[in-house]
């Protein structure tokens, strides 16, 4: 299994110095993504999902420091590369990014074409070497490719669309444009940071299915960051659940949704109207990373926690096949 993995994040911990103290934003994160598969990274807001995305792109937040772990991408540890090389060879080129809010992700003072061609300039088309000069011929080639991709995502009059300004497009159209652009570069891995939360419900599903279909066509692996198990159920092959900076459960989407092993996963799924008959919220909120609770970080909100949970930090243990969970109560049960 490991040898076919495109991305392997092992035991990743990261902390940030703030005025209030050192915050452990990521604590022993562990997951992997294979070529061409769609993996969900699920958790409430504030649990560190977006930080994972930033770290994978080599964009550490200010004052952040990696405490432990490895990020193996195509067998190379990204954390050992020089920032310059990550920028030149990885970011945008091998790892693409789709932002959360298409409304805010375009610079309002430039045409869509100018911005998207600039994206292609720095990520390059798949057959171009990293330092290809941005000649007129290359630009024309990029332009043609972009128009072709815009057609594929159903943007009417693609050539004209490039000359227009972002505010002249709807949110759904803007997200299609961003998807078209990132796929034009054919990265190996696509990081989608809650790509549909800013859109209205009917558009959300269209965009998600478009993204899935295109990812399959192009053979691009996707890491889908979301707080919504509905999205996972529809789209993902596998899923990794995060709570307060820790990986609490990973496995195939099917196994995790139908036999959730961690109490937090259970309750997240119970929040979703399509996946659960009775909707129950989770009381309380994600604990602060500055002074996290001792033991299992979820125990203050957990219904089945015992004294041991407040004491001892659970580690990921294999349940069955690839299904792994970090919960003392599960360990005791099996």
């Amino acid at each position: 299994m490991t040898d076919t993995a495109l991305l392997e994040v092992r035991d990743l911990s990261l902390s940030v110095k703030t005025d209030a103290g050192v915050a452990r934003i990521l604590d022993h994160i562990d997951f992997s993504i294979r070529r061409g598969e769609i993996v969900g990274l699920v958790g409430e807001s504030g649990c560190g999902k977006s930080t994972v995305v930033r770290v994978l792109l080599g964009l550490l937040p200010k004052g952040a420091q990696i405490d432990s772990g490895r990020i193996l991408f195509k067998g190379v540890d990204l954390l050992t590369l020089r920032p310059k090389d990550v920028a030149r060879r990885i970011r945008g080129r091998s790892i693409g990014f789709i932002p959360q809010d298409p409304y805010q992700s375009f610079n309002p003072t430039f045409t869509v074409g100018k911005q998207m061609l600039e994206v292609l300039r720095w990520s390059g088309l798949p057959d171009e070497a990293p330092d290809t000069r941005w000649t007129r011929a290359v630009q024309a080639r990029h332009r043609a490719k972009l128009i072709e991709m815009l057609e594929a995502v159903n943007i009417a009059d693609p050539a004209g669309a490039l000359e227009r300004y972002p505010h002249q497009f709807s949110g759904g159209q803007r997200q299609r444009i961003l998807i078209a652009t990132v796929l034009a570069c054919q990265p190996d891995l696509l990081l989608a940071d809650e790509p549909t939360t800013a859109l209205d419900v009917t558009t959300q599903m269209q965009i998600l299915h478009l993204l899935r279909d295109l990812a399959l066509d192009f053979g691009v692996a996707v890491m889908m960051v979301t707080h919504d198990f509905g999205v996972v159920a529809q789209l993902c092959d596998r899923v990794s659940v995060m709570y307060a900076g820790q990986t609490v459960e990973t496995g195939t989407a099917h196994a995790v949704i139908h036999q959730p092993a961690h109490p937090y996963t259970e309750r997240l799924i119970a929040c979703h109207p399509d996946l659960s008959e009775t909707i129950v919220g989770i009381p309380g909120q994600v604990s602060s990373p500055i002074n996290p609770p001792m033991g299992c970080r979820f125990h203050p909100r957990c219904l089945i926690a015992t004294d041991a949970c407040a004491d001892q930090r659970p580690v990921l243990r294999t349940l069955e096949g690839a299904h792994r969970v970090a919960c003392l109560m599960r360990e005791a049960a099996s």
């Binding site: 964009l59 970011r91 990014f97 809010d101 805010q104 610079n107 309002p108 003072t109 430039f110 600039e118």
Partner: protein
């Protein structure tokens, strides 16, 4: 875009008419009864009446105002009671010098202000940032005519580096008039000597006038760049692999320029104001020093004519600024 310009020009008309009305009233207040003044103390009522007819002030006020507007639109601001010269011709002859001075000042203010502001934002909380902050606070607190004198004292009188007054050394022939700007005209006619000299002459007055502008623009640019670098599209650009320098220029910068550019209209007003006293200090032969002379000679006609001309230029500059704003941010153009 053409529609935008036309609408803005049409909107300027009522404002300028209001301005004309104001100067008309002020002129009336200033002159009292000019017929009586011209006729002298021993004039009979009939003589005064004849002069009134000659001057056209026997007609109703509305008709007088109408005649005034017609005259002004044709560039006829009347004849100065002091010098007996046509005020319009004097102003037309001097306006280019003032425009050259203010536009060069604007250029200096824009280049230095945007440069300092951007660097201060990129090196936030560095020594440079604090320095820019201190200088920009002080720059707005200095009386421009005093700075003019201090610069003159230092660079012209003590160090003898730059000329004390005027547009060119006395005796040097001015370049042929093409645009009215000595800098451009001397370049266009290949008069390198005149170009170097006009540059040396314009440096101190333009720097004086631009000081407040540098401060304002640097300040707005800094805060705009800081804000822009925290937007989501900057994050997206980073994630898409844009190098830092491209994120800053042109992407963050064009966005950040929107606020400072909208300030330039106001700044132009401030520049014209400082130009009055600064021209007087440097003997710059523009309408500022003309205004000062007119004040000195109690020449109301000239004072009000300058007021009107500056109002018109100010209005046009503001339209140009709105146009620049619309070009920088298309959403503005569509709103109108």
């Amino acid at each position: 875009m053409l529609r935008f310009i036309i609408i803005r020009l049409l909107l300027l008309i009522p404002v300028l008419l209001g301005l004309l009305l104001m100067t008309f009233v002020l002129l009336g207040l200033a002159e009292g009864d000019p017929a009586a003044a011209i006729a002298g103390d021993n004039a009979t009522p009939e003589q005064i009446q004849r002069i009134r007819e000659e001057l056209g002030i026997d007609k109703p006020v509305i008709a007088q105002f109408g005649a005034y507007v017609v005259n002004v639109v044709q560039g006829d601001f009347g004849v100065s009671a002091y010098s007996n010269r046509a005020v319009g011709a004097d102003i037309a002859q001097r306006l280019p010098a003032t425009l050259e001075l203010t536009f060069v000042s604007l250029l200096i203010a824009a280049v230095l202000g945007i440069g300092f502001g951007t660097l201060a934002a990129l090196w936030r909380n560095s020594v440079f940032d604090y320095l820019v902050r201190i200088v920009s606070v002080a720059g707005l607190a200095m009386a421009s005519f005093w700075i003019a004198i201090m610069l003159q004292l230092l660079f012209s009188m003590q160090l003898d580096l730059l000329p004390l007054r005027g547009r060119l050394p006395s005796g040097m022939e001015a370049p042929a008039v093409l645009t009215g700007s000595y800098l451009l005209d001397s370049l266009l006619t290949g008069r390198i000597d005149a170009f170097v000299q006009s540059l040396r002459h314009i440096l101190l007055p333009a720097l004086t006038i631009s000081l407040g502008g540098i401060a304002t623009i640097a300040r707005f640019t800094r805060s705009a760049v800081v804000t822009t670098l925290q937007t989501e599209y900057t994050t997206y650009e980073e994630a898409a692999g844009f190098p830092r320098r491209r994120i800053v220029f042109p992407y963050a910068l064009r966005n950040s320029l929107v606020t400072p550019v909208t300030q330039i209209g106001l700044l132009f007003g401030a520049f014209i104001s400082s130009a009055v006293a600064v021209e007087a200090v440097f003997d710059w032969p523009g309408i500022g020093s003309y205004l000062v002379q007119a004040i000195f000679n109690s020449d109301f006609q000239a004072v009000l004519a300058v007021t009107l001309v500056i109002g018109a230029v100010y209005g046009l500059v503001n339209i140009a600024v709105d146009l620049a704003h619309a070009l920088l941010d298309r959403r503005v153009a569509e709103r109108l």
